[in-house]
Amino acid sequence: MSANDTYEAVIGLEVHAQLLTDSKIFCGCSTKFGLPPNSQTCPVCTGMPGSLPVLNRKALQFTIKTGLAMNCSIAGFSRFARKNYFYPDLPKGYQISQYELPVCEHGYVEISVGGGTRRIGLTRIHLEEDAGKNIHEGAGTYSLVDLNRAGVPLMEIVSEPDMKSPEEAGAYMRKLRTILRYIGVCDGNMEQGSLRCDANVSVRPVGAVALGTKVELKNMNSFKFVEKALEYEIKRQVNAIKSGEKIIQETRLWDSAAGVTQSMRTKEEAHDYRYFPEPDLVPFMPAETWIEEIRASIPELPDARRERFASAYGLPEYDADLLTSERPLADWFEECVRKGAQPKAASNWIMGELMRLLNEDGISIEGSPLVPAGLVELLSLIDAGTISGKIAKTVFEEMYRSKKSAALIVKEKGLLQISDASELSAVVDQVIASNPNEAGRFRDGEVKLLGFFVGQVMKATKGKANPGVINDLLKKKLSGK
């Protein structure tokens, strides 16, 4: 509960996900991002008179794949509808979308919040085309239109009003993103707009059955903003109700700079989209065999993989959760295990050193200069006692930077662990001799000073000494045995 214990929020999200097809949904133009304005257009996506849409089968395949991954039923009979409205970035004066017969219905995803799992229902997933982009520049006497994005395939994923807090909404968004990326249908980039979110939010007294008046929120282009906008809006609604105001049904825009939501239009100003079945496209009936083919192409999904990581590799839940958050990361980890790495050790190195270096460089696991075989080699050197755990960190970073093998780095830099007691004996003697005071205190029973001596020996050997051997030597020599 965010605003007040006597009120609860009811939240539903409408998420638009741009599909990773090579060509647009109704023509052969490229979906590539960032090319010169209007260079990726043709008579179809610019709405020329007489042009006709032809459905990109891949876009439908991706939508069905998403529906299956999110536990939806796939419609045996589905069709497109026209959503009519005027805007310069909408070349035909209508958007080809779906209305009463969407591709997918009645699904759900599970989210983990506050230690528990909640199931968030999905009303529907439908397929539609994106609009172009209006560009406003100059003194405001004209605007420009770029239609490269017009006709890029979008999925609209509509949830049930099943979320009760901004945290749940955030967790739901992240879960959607993870699944979409796992199945390879959307890159999930909110900042670039390939994943977009609108929210419907209302509040009601705790325990009430009837829903309050809902407000639609738009313009939240990051996960953080989704949560912040909802937090603000819930507070605003609760405060309004408490001071006797009525909530009006309206669309509000999140202003991230000011941290507030602002009214954009009320229900009375809302469009009448005049939906009707798209006569230029025939209804489609995906064959059962095709749906099964698509189902078979779905990889192990994050929830299942997380559970398997915990049970099969004995990983703590935290590790399993983090490692399965991205499919390539989970693949990277499993590659290490397959090549013989001890799972928890591999997990520690990946979540610690590897993630730290990747984050510093701002690259993803797919771009990692270090390959799983490298980490496995390093771990085997540690296990064999060839290098110490401390030295291993240095070697790891060097492997990451230079792409050299661990063995080569150890050799070139002379980082072999010194385990030979006779070689270390002289160093230990010297350290004890240089610290008579501490040696005395140790002998008087201050045993915790052993750590100090280990540190001194390590320093003297530049970390190469085998800690086990030093321990034995120090204990022996300090106690005078």
Binding site: P43, T46, G47, M48, P49, G50, S51, L52, P53, V54, L55, R82, N84, F86, P88, P91, K92, G93, Y94, V145, D272, R274, Y275, F276, P279, D280, L281, V282
Partner: protein, 482 residues
């Protein structure tokens, strides 16, 4: 005899025998155009230069040597896109629109070696039955220049009738090929919905529009249908059906063919001369061995209402793209809203605006179910009427138009009267069936009358077979205006 009096078949003979070259053929047709265009006003655009290039094989398709339409001069209705040649839809909105792409039908005609002489006039965006809704001028009926040629493909029908081209393409949403063919005394064939690709046809009502031939003979219509029919990957609604050789159907006898006579199509108050000519035509079919059978199409009375809800609904959406932003006419304005309003107020004519408003209303939230939803249900009933009738007959015969050509201005002030011109043709579009109009007589005032023959889905063969047998047993198709 002037070459321009010939149709496709006749010209092919002359060309094949080497009695004339494509350029000589073209000369003859342009002589005819030069003398008739001023009176008939069939063309919006003449493409003389392009035509001679095509006739000399300079377009490089090689089709002039091998194509089935090699050197045949044709006219194309001006709502069918032709690359690099203006396509206006007879609207201010597209007065200067030059498509950067070719429609599928004209590209198939090009592959067959046709020669484009020009683009023909129509009611603006194909909305009308007389060409009086053209933003540019009204085309005249070559049989009587005071009368309309019918519409909306009035320019194409008048051009064929007046010998300004060997054949033409029109489009038919509620009768726009058959009605003007009937009023001009030529043949007009509307194929089954889905038989011919709509890619490049500027949409009026997408679920009803269909392109078809307007020709001097039934055989010519079959030749053209052979060229333009068939699945097109650019049009999802084009049917993946095999395309037979339609010319083979022209020539078969019609013994034992059951001809349905729907009682709802012979109504009190219909023009006596039209009724007489059509009844005589049915007698003639009987004489040829066909068997007349009375049938009933009980939902006929609802066809016009149904059509004007569905067609205008689709049109209101199809015409939304003419907003002055990307191409075509743009009127200035102080902001976006004013630019939209001025552009559409000045760019569209009154009939187009009327239909956009009707359709917008019918699709509005709160009215959708009562209008669009209900009309879709009635459309299904009308389809079922035909399915039922076709259980006992092979073809259905009716008048094409309730009246012969009317005078320019006679119905222009009364849209409802104008809408009734299509009363016998509209149901066929709603049901998606193939239909043809063939000349079947003349009024006392020497105005042509048309017989409509309606076939089963994708059974253009029977339509062509019966129409051809009838045509060959009469002389109506040989008459030409003086």
């Amino acid at each position: 005899m002037e070459l321009s009096e010939l149709g496709i078949e006749g010209l092919k003979d002359v060309l094949d025998r080497g009695e004339a070259t494509p350029a000589m053929v073209l000369d003859s047709f342009f002589r005819r155009i030069d003398s008739a265009q001023e009176k008939v006003k069939a063309f919006v655009t003449l493409s003389r230069e392009q035509a001679y290039k095509m006739a000399s094989g300079a377009c490089g398709t090689g089709a002039l040597d091998t194509g089935i339409l090699a050197g045949i001069p044709m006219a194309i209705k001006d709502n069918i896109c032709t690359k690099a040649i203006k396509t206006t839809c007879s609207s201010r909105m597209l007065e200067n629109f030059i498509p950067p792409y070719e429609s599928t039908v004209t590209s198939r005609l090009s592959d067959a070696g046709y020669v484009l002489v020009g683009k023909t006039n129509l009611d603006e965006f194909a909305m009308g039955s007389s060409t009086e809704n053209s933003a540019f001028f009204t085309t005249r009926n070559p049989w009587d220049l005071d009368r309309i040629p019918g519409g909306s493909s009035g320019g194409s029908a008048a051009a064929v009738c007046a010998g300004m081209c060997a054949a033409a393409l029109g489009s038919d949403t509620g009768g726009s090929i058959r009605q003007p063919a009937s009023l001009c005394g030529v043949v007009g064939l509307k194929p089954t919905y889905g038989r011919v690709s709509r890619y490049g046809l500027v949409a009026f009502a997408s679920s009803l529009d269909q392109i078809g031939p307007i020709t001097k003979t039934v055989k010519d219509a079959a030749i053209l249908l052979n060229v333009i029919a068939g699945r097109d990957p650019l049009d999802s609604t084009s049917a993946p059906m095999p395309v037979p050789d339609f010319t083979k159907a022209a020539g078969m006898d019609i013994k034992g063919i059951r001809v349905g006579i729907p009682r709802e199509y012979f109504i009190p108050g219909m023009d006596k001369e039209v009724e007489g000519a059509v009844r005589a035509a049915i007698k003639q079919l009987e004489a040829l061995g066909a068997v007349p059978v009375e049938v009933s199409l009980p939902h006929t009375a609802y066809a016009i209402a149904t059509y004007y809800i569905l067609a205008t609904s689709e049109a209101s959406s199809n015409l939304a793209r003419y907003d002055g932003v990307k191409y075509g006419f743009r009127a200035g304005g102080k902001d976006l809203m004013e630019t939209y309003m001025n552009t559409r107020a000045e760019g569209f004519g009154p009939e187009v605006k009327r239909r956009i408003m009707l359709g917008t209303y019918a699709l509005s939230s709160g009215y959708y179910e009562a209008y669009y939803g209900r009309a879709q249900q009635v459309r299904t009933l009308i389809k079922k009427d035909f399915e039922e009738a076709f259980k006992s007959v092979d073809i259905i015969a009716t008048p094409t138009s309730p009246t012969p050509a009317f005078k320019v201005g006679e119905k222009a002030a009364d849209p409802l009267q104008m809408y009734l011109s299509d009363i016998f043709t509209i149901s066929i579009n709603l049901a998606g069936l193939p239909g043809i109009s063939v000349p079947c007589g003349f009024t006392g005032g020497n105005l042509p009358i048309g017989l409509q023959l309606i076939g089963r889905h994708f059974d253009e063969e029977t339509v062509i077979r019966v129409a051809h047998a009838y045509e060959q047993s009469t002389d109506w198709h040989k008459r030409r205006p003086g």
